[in-house]
Symmetry: C2
Subunit: 223 residues, 2 copies
């Protein structure tokens, strides 16, 4: 059996929740332009020809903290995780597990939600992005989240987050031609992992496990 741990999907319940409260206005319309990203029937039809193949689901970009301030992020993460758990429970044949979302702009809530999602909802691990609203994951404020993941013995998925608003030249305001994506995402992933290494994370928590999206960013290729 092939277990694909890098597939994104947004459950209808979560997309509708975001729309109902007008959260992250750009994200849901973008998701809906790719039917297999939000339409469960479309996704299942896509998979129909594939035998012995299952998907561990994670939400598409953006991160929970982009949808609302710290006061709301905990609730948004709970809705996201509940909807993913419910979807997986109904479709274990194709989607045996999901990756939980954390309200990273409220680190204490993120720790609690990691525990709830893994212990109570059966999440396979938790998703973090390469920066938290611009801040590095190596900031000590996020250390308890890594410690909780190590305690739960669940992996953290690391996904790049970077948009065209990160310019490639000092004289410009934005990155062009999707350079921010094509080269920027691997760069972000490598930079984030380097920062975690130099922060001493893997010395402090030798059993912490990080699954880097997109084959690890730059490092495996340059190596």
């Amino acid at each position: 059996m092939k277990i694909d741990v890098f597939t994104h999907f947004a459950p209808a319940g979560f997309a509708e929740y975001l729309e109902r409260f007008a959260l992250g206005r750009a994200a849901v319309p973008r998701w809906r332009r790719i039917p297999t990203l939000v339409d469960l029937d479309a996704r299942r039809r896509l998979l129909d020809p594939l035998d012995d193949y299952v998907q561990v689901l994670s939400l598409p970009n953006p991160a929970i903290e982009a949808f609302g301030p710290p006061s709301d992020a905990r609730e948004i993460a709970r809705v996201a995780n509940d909807s993913l758990a419910e979807l997986c429970a109904r479709h274990r044949d194709r989607f045996p597990a999901f990756v939980a979302n954390l309200p990273m702009n409220d680190p204490a809530a993120a720790v609690e939600e990691a525990e709830r999602a893994v212990r109570d909802l059966g999440a396979a691990g938790c998703l973090v992005y390469t920066n938290v609203l611009g801040a590095p994951l190596s900031d000590p404020v996020y250390a308890p989240i890594f410690a909780k993941a190590a305690e739960l013995d669940c992996p953290l998925w690391l996904h790049p987050i970077r948009g065209p608003e990160t310019p490639d030249y000092k004289t410009e305001d934005a990155s062009r031609h999707e350079i921010w994506f094509m080269f920027g995402w691997p760069y972000e992933t490598a930079a984030a992992m380097a920062r975690l290494v130099f922060s001493g994370l893997f010395d402090r928590l030798p059993n912490v496990k990080i699954i880097t999206h997109h084959l690890g960013g730059l490092v495996p290729y340059l190596e």
Copy 2:
């Protein structure tokens, strides 16, 4: 015979000129910390054991435009190129040619210096960096330089330039742990080449030749 086209060296005459006029104060002391980068005897001793091996010399970072304003850059480039030409003339056995430097903050002067360096001094080509004091090479103001290189049928060497002052996170002022160098230089190179491609450069000037330092940056590895 092996012809190494990626070796940096700063002729003593140019280093002393920069020091005499207090130009680029940080650069020369940095160069001097690596004796084989500025001391011809040290460089020749390094090469003594190697048979059938020659080096095409280019200056180490930074770019000419970092040493002075447009009003001075033409003169600085001329001194750099004259000193490289003189060194190569005396040591053809090891250094058969050099890569010329251009005052990119004075594009009209850069065109003239490219012509002088290639036609009169015998430069093998000209060096450009991945950005000009923060601006992309695809800016139309630099188009005449590419046109001149195509007309002279000489390659342009493309070298990354980026320092720790390019932060990796919006919450920080600087890149840490040499991420700007280890991952940033390949990123810079890939971004600069992408911008040149999307600018239509290779359609307008099909015979323009660009030699990318460090094996091309990211693209060959990701490919």
